[in-house]
Amino acid sequence: MEILYLLIPLSVILVFLIGAAFFWSVRSGQFDDLEGPAHRILSDDDSAI
């Protein structure tokens, strides 16, 4: 069971990495508009993106 001493800290580090990545994506505005992008793919005008 010694592997736990590696795996559990590893999982904690992973959670922090995921958290940091998500935090960054929120900060950079990727979640500001949750509805617009869904409609935008339907618009023919590619330049609007």
Partner: protein, 830 residues
């Protein structure tokens, strides 16, 4: 003053070491002293001294008694020059309204407002300034509305006065609100997601302890606990910080909100767990802590999401007004124009409004004839003819031909802006159901804290060794998880499910009110009808077929943006060509087809072409229809009627609402005959036409006085005040944006079924909330005495609490499930 004098000298002691105005530490032997509020006070800097002297000189020392705390952040005083530039740019940006009698008015956003005392100080001080006629400050929105006499005061002077007492004012620009909303959204989204992440992982670490039959080895348990601690710490410090901030705010104003027990619960459980983990042994509650934070944040996120949509609607009202206008360089010459910002228009300017464009300001037509669509403002669904001397309103759309308009009011002085203010006022007067809920929660929390304190005291007296564990058990078991989750979790589930049906509750108390509704009041325009004309009948008079007549009319109306032309184009008649089309505003169109002059429009005008009398069937036209004649120089060709269509399902809707035991009425600004016709068609007995916004307000108020709970389904901007006055209001997503701002519930699908759906859903939601509250209450009645008498260990308490919360959340999630029948109808609708 007796009570003041009897107070301990603490305030005076603080006054010695801290700045009397801002609370910052004073430099040793501060040279800045002044006699304020009856004693010698010291200050940290000349800025604070000047502010205090100003306040003293205005006789407003009472501010220092009334304010809640002394940490007003001192502002760097801006130079007079900077203020002058700020004032000038506000003038240039159209943020200053010119009123009659040389008065000016502007909206300001004020930084540094902390409490009611700040509002009092600002209002009293500004009102005492020479030339300031009126100053009103809103504590919640930090907005001030200032009115002053341009002869005796300047905007720069007003801004300077605000700075002199330690605040900073910005002329209000709506986009700042947008930025603030975005910041709030990002912060809450990050908090919620990180809390959910922490919850997920901590749950996984907690699982072995719950599932292993004979316990896990001590060193493994320690490892898992440490890992949980590392994950829970940021969740508590970052994700839960709004709860702590809220609790701190509540405590400071000596008020008990739900944030207080939440903060105590989170803080207490975390500290106790950490205490156990760092080597003292004992139970840990990391899983409960993270779950609690995550679920509460999630509930708040749903609420903010709905509010944000409303905020976007507020921004959108600015979009209804065109941003630019074509101003005539020379009032006499309509050919040369310059493009200017709509907000920089001045009284008396002349602007050119091309056909199809919306009008930038309120004004009077000085040249041209056209028809103008004012549905947004007046609720009248078809365009009105405008000729020289007629008034036109900002945000209405010029349909036919160019107009030259003399500006009578621009920017904040327009009718649209006045309506917006009316809405704001009405919204501010809304009975605050939320406050009642808070007060009840406060009582519960107070009782809870009292029980915990009594338990602690009793056990301290009986058995000091167990006092902490038992008190913690009481706090944890009652940790108003279930109770405080009962409502938000249910509301969040309901909001999520309705969002899938594209129904958005903007205010969180909307569901509660909606469930109690007894009256549903409809507005006709665009609510029960489609809000657009369609061809309802053709009566050929000269032996032509229906298709031929429609084709001829379509050719005449080619290229027009008039609603009648749009209705004809939807008929898809075979193409014909008309030459030399001339639109005669107020009458119709004239053109050459097949070598003969044809007219399509007002019967009398068409009749003038051939001189024959108007046929008798003109009288047979239904009350809600528009009759249009088609003729050439030899006689009548056909008779067209156009009507505003009922929305599909309008009659079913009224029937279903009746079945739910609701009274239905129709209140419209349209002609009474039209309203009567629509009411008859869908089976509403109680209707009223020709209702102006004020009359609508009065009707709703009288219903409310009679004890009714009124739900208003509205559309045009003219409905906005009544939407705000009604107990709860619904508006369609396609409706004018201002009403979305006021509406409590937005039906984004533009489908009438949403009305029934949202009411039945709200009733279901309220039922689940009641079940949850009953459960939480019953659970507390059983569990708290058990815990207080020491029959529950903190671990058992935590399991009980988690179980209770899970049950509540699971019950709430029943609402999130879209019933199979609904799902099927959704599919068939698509």
């Amino acid at each position: 003053m007796g009570a003041e004098a009897a107070r301990p000298a603490l305030a005076d002691f603080v006054a010695e070491s801290a700045c009397f105005h801002c609370g910052e530490r004073n430099p040793p032997s501060s040279p800045w002293r002044a006699a304020v509020d009856g004693a010698e006070r010291r200050f940290c800097c000349p800025g604070c001294l000047a502010i205090a002297r100003t306040i003293r000189a205005a006789g407003l020392d009472r501010f220092y008694h009334q304010r809640e705390r002394a940490d007003t952040t001192p502002v760097e005083p801006a130079s007079g020059e900077a203020l002058a530039i700020l004032a000038d740019s506000a003038e240039a940006g159209g943020l200053v309204t010119h009123l009659a009698g040389g008065l000016r008015e502007t909206s300001l956003l004020i930084d540094g407002i902390r409490c009611g005392a700040c509002v009092w100080l600002l209002e009293s001080y500004l009102a005492g300034q020479p030339g300031v006629v009126q100053a009103s400050v809103n504590l919640a929105t930090h907005r001030a509305r200032i009115r002053w006499d341009a002869q005796r005061a300047t905007l720069a002077g007003v801004l300077g006065a605000i700075e002199a007492i330690g605040y900073r004012a910005h002329p209000y620009d709506p986009s700042r609100r947008e930025a603030q909303m975005r910041r709030e959204w990002r912060a809450l989204l990050a908090r919620t997601a990180l809390a959910l992440l922490a919850m997920m992982q901590v749950m996984m670490f907690a699982l072995p302890a719950y599932t292993s039959a004979d316990g896990i080895e001590a060193q493994h348990r320690a490892l898992l606990e440490w890992a949980s601690l590392v994950l829970t710490l940021p969740a508590v410090l970052y994700c839960a910080s709004p709860f702590f901030a809220g609790a701190w705010r509540d405590v400071r104003v000596r008020k008990l909100g739900m944030d207080v027990p939440v903060a105590i619960g989170i803080g207490g459980a975390f500290v106790a767990s950490a205490w156990s983990t760092i080597g003292n042994g004992g139970p840990v509650y990391y899983d409960s802590v993270t779950m609690f934070i995550a679920l509460l944040s999630l509930a708040r996120l749903f609420e903010l999401h709905a509010r944000r949509r409303a905020g976007e609607a507020i921004e959108a009202i600015a979009r209804d007004l065109p941003e630019t206008a074509d101003r005539l360089l020379d009032p006499a010459d309509a050919s040369r124009t310059e493009r200017v910002a709509a907000c920089s228009l001045r009284l008396g300017d002349r602007i050119r409004v091309p056909a199809g464009a919306s009008i930038a300001a309120d004004g009077t037509v000085v040249d041209g004839r056209s028809s103008v669509e004012e549905a947004m403002l007046t609720g009248e669904s078809w365009p009105r003819a405008k000729k020289v001397g007629d008034r036109v309103l900002a945000a209405s759309i010029n349909r036919e031909s160019p107009l030259i308009v003399r500006v009578d009011a621009a920017g904040e002085a327009t009718a649209v802006a006045a309506l917006a203010r009316m809405v704001e006022d009405a919204a501010n007067r809304r009975p605050a159901i939320a406050r009642t809920a808070d007060r009840v929660a406060g009582h519960f929390v107070a009782a809870l804290l009292a029980i915990a304190a009594a338990t602690a005291a009793a056990w301290w007296y009986l058995e000091p060794a167990r006092a902490l564990a038992v008190t913690l058990a009481v706090l944890v078991v009652s940790c108003p998880c279930a109770l405080s989750l009962a409502t938000p979790a249910t509301l969040a589930a309901a909001a999520g499910a309705s969002a899938r049906r594209r129904i958005f509750a903007v205010r969180s108390d909307a569901w509660e009110t909606l469930a109690r509704v007894t009256h549903v009041v409809f507005d006709k325009t665009g609510t029960l009808t489609k809000g657009r004309l369609s061809l309802s009948g053709v009566e050929p008079l000269a032996g032509h077929s229906r298709t031929q007549c429609v084709a001829l009319a379509t050719a005449l109306e080619a290229g027009s943006a008039h609603p009648i032309a749009e209705a004809l184009q939807r008929e898809l008649a075979p193409a014909r060509v008309a030459d030399g089309i001339v639109a005669v505003p107020g009458n119709g169109v004239e053109a050459i087809v097949g070598g003969r002059p044809h007219r399509f429009g007002r019967p009398e005008w068409v009749g003038a072409l051939h001189g024959q009398p108007v046929p008798a069937l003109a009288d047979a036209v239904a009350a809600d229809a528009i009759a249009v004649a088609l003729g050439n120089d030899t006689g009548w060709i056909a008779w067209f009627t156009f009507a505003d269509d009922l929305r599909p399902g309008a009659a079913t809707l009224v029937g279903e609402l009746r079945e739910m035991g609701l009274a239905v009425s129709l209140l419209s600004g349209d002609r009474t005959a039209t309203v009567a016709h629509v009411a008859q068609a869908i089976g509403i007995a109680d209707f009223r036409g020709d209702a102006r916004p004020a009359a609508k307000l009065e009707t709703i108020a009288s219903l409310q006085r009679a004890g009714a709970v009124v739900a208003m389904v509205g559309d045009g901007i003219n409905d906005a005040p009544s939407l705000a006055r009604a107990d709860v209001s619904l508006s369609f997503g396609s409706a004018a944006t201002l009403t979305q701002w006021t509406a409590d519930v937005i039906l984004a699908d533009d489908d009438l079924r949403g009305v029934v759906d949202s009411i039945s859903r709200s009733r279901k939601t309220l039922r689940v909330i009641r079940q949850n509250l009953c459960w939480a209450f019953g659970y507390n009645v059983v569990a708290i005495p058990l815990a207080a008498t020491g029959h529950l260990t903190p671990l058992a308490a935590a399991i009980g609490m988690s179980f209770s919360s899970l049950l509540v959340v699971a019950n709430a999630l029943r609402l999130a499930r879209v019933a199979p029948r609904e799902a099927a109808s959704e599919r068939s609708a698509v």
